[in-house]
Symmetry: C2
Subunit: 881 residues, 2 copies
Amino acid sequence: MSNKYVYMFSEGNGKMRELLGGKGANLAEMTLLGLPVPQGFIVTTEACTLYNTSGRVMSDDVVKQIDESMANLEKLTGKRFGDTENPLLVSVRSGSRASMPGMMDTVLNLGLNDISVEAMAKNIDRRFAYDSYRRFIMMFADVVMDGNKHEFEAALGKFKAKVGAKEDVDLTGEQMQEIANIFKEIYKEQLKGDFPQDPKKQLYEAVCAVFRSWDNERAFIYRRRHDIPYSWGTAVNVQSMVFGNMGDDSGTGVAFSRDPSSGVDGVYGEFLMNAQGEDVVAGIRTPLSIDQMKVDNPAIYTEFEALAKKLENHYKDMQDMEFTIEKGKLYFLQTRAGKRTGAAALRIAIDMAKEGLLTQEEALLQVDAKLLDQLLHPVFDEKALKSTNTIGSGLAASPGAACGRVYFTSSDAMAAAERGEKVILVRNETSPEDIGGMQVAQGILTSTGGATCHAAIVARDMGTPCICGCSELHIDYNTKSFDLGGKTYNEGDIISLDGTTGLIYGEAIATVEPAMTGDFATFLDWADKHKTLAVRTNTDTPDSAARAVEFGAEGIGLIRSEHMFFDAERIPKMQKMILSESEKERRAACEELLSFQKADYLAIFEVMKGLPVTIRLLDPPLHEFLPKSEMEFETLAKETGKAMDYLKRQSANLAEVNPMMGHRGLRLVVSYPEIAEMQARAIITAAIEAGKAGINANPEIMIPLSVDEKEFKFVKDIIETTAKEVIAEAGVDVGYTIGTMIEIPRACLMADEIAKEAAFFSFGTNDLTQMAYGMSRDDAGRILSDYIDNNIFEVDPFSRLDQKGVGELMKIAVERGRKARPGIKLGICGEHGGDPSSIEFCHKIGLDYVSCSPYRVPIARLAAAQAAIMHAKGLGVENKG
Amino acid sequence: MSNKYVYMFSEGNGKMRELLGGKGANLAEMTLLGLPVPQGFIVTTEACTLYNTSGRVMSDDVVKQIDESMANLEKLTGKRFGDTENPLLVSVRSGSRASMPGMMDTVLNLGLNDISVEAMAKNIDRRFAYDSYRRFIMMFADVVMDGNKHEFEAALGKFKAKVGAKEDVDLTGEQMQEIANIFKEIYKEQLKGDFPQDPKKQLYEAVCAVFRSWDNERAFIYRRRHDIPYSWGTAVNVQSMVFGNMGDDSGTGVAFSRDPSSGVDGVYGEFLMNAQGEDVVAGIRTPLSIDQMKVDNPAIYTEFEALAKKLENHYKDMQDMEFTIEKGKLYFLQTRAGKRTGAAALRIAIDMAKEGLLTQEEALLQVDAKLLDQLLHPVFDEKALKSTNTIGSGLAASPGAACGRVYFTSSDAMAAAERGEKVILVRNETSPEDIGGMQVAQGILTSTGGATCHAAIVARDMGTPCICGCSELHIDYNTKSFDLGGKTYNEGDIISLDGTTGLIYGEAIATVEPAMTGDFATFLDWADKHKTLAVRTNTDTPDSAARAVEFGAEGIGLIRSEHMFFDAERIPKMQKMILSESEKERRAACEELLSFQKADYLAIFEVMKGLPVTIRLLDPPLHEFLPKSEMEFETLAKETGKAMDYLKRQSANLAEVNPMMGHRGLRLVVSYPEIAEMQARAIITAAIEAGKAGINANPEIMIPLSVDEKEFKFVKDIIETTAKEVIAEAGVDVGYTIGTMIEIPRACLMADEIAKEAAFFSFGTNDLTQMAYGMSRDDAGRILSDYIDNNIFEVDPFSRLDQKGVGELMKIAVERGRKARPGIKLGICGEHGGDPSSIEFCHKIGLDYVSCSPYRVPIARLAAAQAAIMHAKGLGVENKG
């Protein structure tokens, strides 16, 4: 590792993001390009890591290099740091590899002290000098020393009232000087020490404060949400000051090279004359549209426009720039790729490809696949959102905006929906019995669970906004109310959820429906041309299958057949089957379920029109289906003609200590072969009936939870025997294949044996992650949150595939499976199948397809194309911030 | 695979056990050695597998080869199968690779029909001929055709009553002929067909019946208990008959070449003149000691003794032989390695080594390590014994002391054991159907049978004390009571058995731990010289640690520190800690636990005197410790001063859906670092205090449940920081190391990363098996039983390490761990650490030690020696039957 910890702007370049941070690398690159950039230097991310991992002490090495660089900067600018005549002032800003709000704010005018401020007052302007000084003292106290800003602000207000000044501009230079003195007093009292007069000390403190801010809570929260590793660290940019507040020929602003909302080409932004950057950002004064500059100052505007285009052409991406005009001279303070909406991202990528600025491949790589999600869900009206405070937050589990009245049980939610109300279902957690309430809900909020809990999976499948794991949420089911954000909300109260951000609001907020633009179709057509992975969907109903096909799904990768048994009509029959006393009884109960299953599969075959349809046999522990309430037991007693006592005892017998590792999946079939017989009969019969209607059904029968070739073969034999019988009875042939989920670690190690029998593998990475980590999804919320807070895990392994552990098991399975059966079809149907970085991994290890919830299909198509393009170029896809 | 399915005895040899079964291979070997063996042929185990896997039809190939071999046998014997003048009769017996009771019984006299029986009557003796015929009809009906034996027996009884015969011997030839006719009628009625007159048909049916018996329930139970794979199959031995019931110069018997109870050298056995083998085995007549033969028939005795020694010297092992004398000529019907008690096994191995028959290595390999278990069983307290009168006595058939409640049927015994009772099974005789009751019994008592009856053989094998042939014992199965020593004992009454002396007591008697015999020490000293694996123990108390050291433990491989918190005094303090509302409260509660922990560790360090002591930090989910009953909540409310409501709510909050994969192990420490701080403080303080007492404590602090190097480091840092503090406070240094359990699949894959931080790995194969299989031990009972019944799993992976899956994960961890840290110490502390085949695997992959429960330490020492010897010879250890 390099021992060079500090780089002058002229020593770096745009490719050095890891070391210099995004901001620093871009300042270096702009310097290389000859843009007017106030010069400075960058303290590297390595210096940050060194600081935070060695007891928060800045090493002598770093101090020495900062001093040397400062000397260089003095030569470049012709000014001296702390000079009594012509002092060099600098800004200090954080800058990590990825743009990251939540980090330390900018400190401006660093270098001012009692002496240099006086020089500045004499040479430039007293009011300007002391205004800068008092701002610097407050900023330093607040941002660097962790003091209390409000005392400073209150003192300023009091002073203004005393002298009868309405606005800051009404204050004279002398008054500013008085304020600076007052601020120094406040500083001393708050921070138990004099405001530091040594500019070097100011600088070291500021640099360390930036380093420490990498470790603060806001930074943690942001990193967690955006999957940014702690290990990256932040760089610090030290840049000589230019002043936008030196009079009416000075100003400052921020602008994009294209409209970040719509993607329309042309400079788009805001500016303020006679102001510092913080005035724009803080919203103290209302900035003007940059179009106004065209009128007021056409020369500067033209220069800016030309340089903005130069930067955009250079970076081949839409730029977000900060600039300052000092006494009529334009300076670029920062440039970076601009954040944009999903719609703008598509428009810009397509336009740039049409302009010849990007190849089609480059255009595809330019769009963050996750952004597509925005185009598929309603969002809150931006204006309405600005004036609303959040009452809490949780895990953004299923995207989109929702607004409705709070209900706490599935039945209350359904009754309310029946009355025409919009409903938000609020629960500690959801279970399959809540499916009815979830179906009618606009949004779902839970206090427990992570990205792959029941609520999250089902909500994503339905396209319903969902926030999970809101641990501050305290529900009292008895009083039908919850406490959040210091307030109690009762049944029927209105709240709003943003499933994209995880934010919760205590009132109604207007939503807007997204329009699918032509750009969407165009762009995904491009993606399809480049991707090699097929994209399938996980779904259990014909409706959502149809939606997935619209979104471009090339088949179904997972039907969870058990989901078909939860509605009110069916569940007693399922319960009857489970609680049968003999095989004969169970067979009779299966017979009743058969017609439902057959109709389900037929409807899906009709929608899928010959595309492959992977049907997983019954998977969850049977007791999940059992009656819980007295009423349910009564219903069941009627249905079965059995005593309540017996039913309760049997139900209790089926309870398990660790149901996730219990009697489920193909283990059920080993105990009750008649279940698989029934399901196989339903599938094959439905395929035959579809065939009669002219549809060439393509069922892939998937056996869950295999760990051994013998158990797989046991179940496969049952299916094949049944299929032969059904085909013989019908006198019509039908094609089908039999494969297995690979979701248990042992299955990966035994993949060569299992592949001898299985036509396909589908990685169930939810369960595989659970077992590989020994961590139950249902119970992981608290654990993962403590792990991420303590920097132990960078990301939630249920959201992003753990490539080192789980991924290694997958690689072993792929190698062994392909070795034993070269043509074996390999896919993934865990939730990771919709996560871009996980898709990239699936491409890399050579899977044939990924499968994800319908609303993730477009994202997966783009991610698959990006993976293919990157790999064709011989590159891995870097984590995106 | 060979297409030769049938071998003449003279075509095989003793090494062909896999193909010919143990019995067949030994018959072939005896033939080679020139022993007097009635000739015959063997249908191979491959033919069995073929039959059971191809719809239970005997292939034409097999039929043809049987016919050819029968023709050969006819030539050898000069008799013809089904001949009207000089018929060849054969016995048909099962014979798998390992000796296996529960398989099909012997069928004798096969080949008899209405015509050949008449030839036999004329040529030899009418009574003998028809006695043989009626036995054969009944046996064929019972054993081959699955008919009902009791109808035959009842008919015989009725006939005897009618003609006024008291015993079978009172019946004339003509009467026997009448009985044969009655039996044919019963056969026809029961089995809806005539008794087959074609000897070939009789033979094919009998062979198939043996094949099918491999698939019966008793065989399943036996295989499961003895870890015998289903895939082995059984061979069938077809052997020409010799008759021990042809008069007073004929006889039959079974004998061992040394005493199977004590190991004393010299022929030991029983015989009956004028009897068939079944009379001895069934315990119908009480046989004579073989010493009697020395008196009655010294020539035969001398011949037998010489041949027995010849066999023993040839096989280099104690032999268990069946013989028949036909009209003064001795025949060997079978030989095999004799089953023996643990004490006998040691005596024999040591003697044979001293005699020069075996090398020390061979002697070590001769003893099944599991047998040592018997030597560790308790015996009756001598003082208690002195003041107790016996109520009867019988044959000391299997050593050890047992005390429990009397039950008379296998099912009653099992039900009582289920309720937690200690059970003595009392029967006239046992049969394979009683195996379930025998397994749960503390001891077994029978009224009939000798040292080689079913009860004796099975009990010795299980290590269960057993007294046989207590002829004064009168059982009334109807009233569920027995009379003995002039008193009636009813179901549920307590008795005691001494299987070493054969004495029976009518009350409970205290037991004491057995004294280790000289042989035991000698043999394990030999073992220690050869083993390379160290053997440690899993224990949580000073007492059991001391016992383990007596048994030869070289350290502690696992202290489960949570076990120290379950007693009445401590658990409220643990609960207080768990339910703390703040870190401060939790620290205070930890403080209270600290002194307990410190004292625990100090006591153990004192016992272990410098041997390594591995202490695992708190592992289970916290809610396991929570109060369950109202009373416990009340106690806790007093202890903590908190409201019941609060305590209940908090307890409920801590509940988990899958606790095994929940908030446990080092995950607790990430959430509550103060727990690890407390434990580290307790350990280091105890080590320092031990040091002051002159004991050089050697703690190895083990972090449970790691999956990642960062979380390991997180906890390690806490321990190290605390240890430094404690050491600094004390001013005394103390050595310790920090390592981790490897018990989660991901830990195996990340072993290289983890090894950078961890000084040692200890494989927790219980959890590793759970996670690798995705199967919860708590819930696995039903699943495993269905899996074993359906031949999917051969053995329970929680009893014997699954080398293909779990073992492969271990291998990966060993390779990666050693690569990253060449000197890393590797051990195992799961239950598998005491299982010989798993120990062999641990040796193979290069672990440094195994750790097991104290009573398994001697077994592990021997198994480790056996593994080392086998591997030095370049051999794997074969599964033992």
